[in-house]
């Protein structure tokens, strides 16, 4: 609602009885309080996770924490470099596999599919997004792991299996967001391209996709956030060894999976290190959100 209308709304309020005026004011304050719950929640997460993670600076050393290469609870060594590398390997690989598939599906839905095909594919993609990560992990550990194990002669745990599971997981989210971006491109731009004699494919890759570029980048950033924070599905297929992996079929650990593995028995400094990883994941996810907002400001 525009400021003018609200201002005139305030003027009418002065014409009503005092009790009505007070009631309206109290309700507005209540609604504001509800909206403020969001800010409060984020602040609370920041403060509480940060507070539990703080001793990593005083009792350990932050530099040793992020650059150390040994993660071992028994010798009180909490270097998370192998875990960061593990998270990056898993996330980037999944994005590399998932992005072309997702953007392809999105372009198909927005530009190629007939309304009848669209009516079938679009709900399927949305339903795929609703399947919980533990089910993907289950699917990965029972079926994919066995297939990978047979072909490579390993146990089947490792980056490769995680890539496939995660790629399947992020495709629906990525595809839905990319499709929104593609659908927001005005029809006239496409028509102009066709009028110049361009084929459908030329229109797609020279006109439509470049016009929706920022929206698609947004989608990829959000997909990345989803992938790096993903816990259960990754945990079940990476093999959980906090070391630098010796190849894509060797076990590794990510930040999220290590938290779940260690949490049941972690005490003292060990638990602090787990909370410090959670704090880093939280800050990273907020940075991704901030960059998406910055991008959309650039677009406007």
């Amino acid at each position: 609602m525009s400021p003018e209308e609200t201002r005139s709304g305030t003027k009418t309020l002065q014409l009503v009885s005092r009790s009505t005026y007070v009631r309206e004011w109290i309700l507005q304050a209540l609604f504001f309080a509800c909206a403020f719950v969001f800010v409060l929640a984020v602040a609370l997460i920041f403060v509480f996770v940060g507070w539990k993670a703080l001793p990593i600076f005083t009792d350990y050393s932050f530099w040793k924490f992020i650059s150390g290469t040994e993660w071992s609870a028994s010798s009180q060594q909490f270097g998370i470099l192998p875990l960061i590398v593990g998270s990056l390997i898993v996330t980037l690989g999944a994005l590399a596999l998932g992005t072309p598939l997702a953007v392809g599906t999105a372009v198909f839905l927005s530009d190629v599919a007939s309304p009848r095909v669209r009516k079938f594919v679009r709900p399927a993609v949305e339903l795929l997004a609703g399947i919980p990560s533990v089910v993907y992990g289950f699917f990965g550990i029972i079926l994919l792991r066995a297939v990978v194990a047979r072909f490579t002669g390993t146990l089947g745990f490792g980056a490769f299996t995680a890539w496939i599971v995660l790629a399947i997981m992020i495709v629906p989210t990525l595809a839905a967001l990319s499709e929104d971006a593609l659908l927001s491109i005005p029809e006239g731009i496409r028509e102009a391209s066709y009028a110049m004699g361009a084929t459908q494919w030329q229109t797609i890759y020279k006109v439509v996709v470049p016009a929706a570029k920022i929206g698609i980048i947004d989608a990829i950033i959000l997909g990345m956030g989803r992938a790096i924070g993903e816990t259960m599905a990754v945990l079940m297929v990476v093999g959980n060894a906090p070391v630098f992996p010796k190849g894509i079929f060797a076990p590794l650990s990510t930040m999220t999976s290590q938290i779940v593995m260690d949490m049941p028995y972690a005490v003292g400094l060990h638990r602090t290190a787990l909370f410090a990883m959670a704090a880093m994941l939280f800050v990273f996810s907020m940075l991704l959100v901030a960059s998406v907002r910055l991008l959309s400001r650039l677009r406007d």
Partner: protein
């Protein structure tokens, strides 16, 4: 003609991408369905797991999941709906609204493991609620808040201006306009958003693992602990014990979530007013 051939091939590849996406969904659902349907029986649904291999049914886990989801819905939907009312109807666009929106976006993208550890640190330990339904519901409601708020705000913004003008013209106050005109018109889409958020909550694992615990227990009061279906499935799958029960649990979980999502679509199709 080269141009036309390139076009053909490229469009073919796009078809391939879409088909692959749908095929993966089909394969996953089919695999879980074929393996899960064999173990699903009234006995599986309504009896307790027992013994080292978790033989028997999964009844307490179903109750825990439904319990915590309903509780989280009761906590989060009033707050989220009223927050959306504030953003869409009352707020001046400015720094405060920007901050609230940024907070909502951040909350929506918090990794679930972070939310789990946060819920553990705040609700379970600092507030002394212990591993319980209420701790889990509070943590889950934080995840549901942004989903419900976004749906509600979109619904409210879709209500045409002239409906508000009509109500103002009759002398209604702002709250009366919101309560009698805007919210009823947006109701179907708001409920859809709530149902979708519940579907999301049912599938959460990492959050409830640290706030509800994993003890097999039939929750009665909000202070009771329990083991939700997702955690049960995780433990069965990782320990490799009793795979048939794992498939059965996975199938029931998928059916529940599909049920939520499909009913959300149904509500929207049949009651939509804006």
């Amino acid at each position: 003609m080269n141009r036309r051939l390139t076009n053909r091939i490229a469009i073919g590849i796009l078809w391939g991408a879409a088909l692959l996406t749908v095929a993966v969904l089909g394969a996953l659902l089919l695999y879980v369905f074929v393996n899960g349907i064999r173990v699903i029986s009234p006995a599986f649904v309504f009896t307790w797991p027992h013994g080292v291999n978790a033989e028997g049914g999964i009844w307490p886990t179903i109750v825990a999941t439904v319990y915590v989801t309903a509780l989280a819905m009761l906590i989060s939907s009033p707050v989220a709906v009223l927050a959306a009312v504030y953003l869409a109807e009352y707020a001046f666009q400015g720094r405060i609204v920007n901050t609230i929106r940024f907070a909502a976006d951040s909350l929506a993208s918090v990794p679930s493991i972070v939310m789990g550890l946060f819920g553990f640190a705040l609700f379970v330990e600092a507030m002394g609620l212990g591993l319980s339904m209420i701790s889990a519901a509070l943590a889950l409601s934080l995840l549901m808040l942004p989903i419900i708020m976004r749906a509600t705000e979109e619904a409210i913004r879709a209500v045409p201006k002239y409906m508000r003008w009509g109500a103002y013209g009759l002398g209604a106050t702002k709250w009366q306009v919101v309560r009698r005109t805007v919210l009823p018109a947006a109701a179907a889409r708001i409920i859809t958003g709530i149902v979708l958020a519940m579907g999301r909550a049912v599938g959460e694992t990492a959050v409830v693992l640290y706030t509800m615990g994993q003890a097999v227990n039939l929750p009665i009061t909000p202070a009771d602990s329990g083991r939700p279906m997702t955690v049960h499935l995780y433990l069965l799958a990782v320990e490799g014990i009793n795979l048939p029960a794992a498939f059965g649990t996975a199938l029931l979980l998928i059916v529940m979530i599909l049920g939520f999502n499909l009913s959300a679509r149904w509500i929207l199709r049949h009651n939509r007013r804006v």
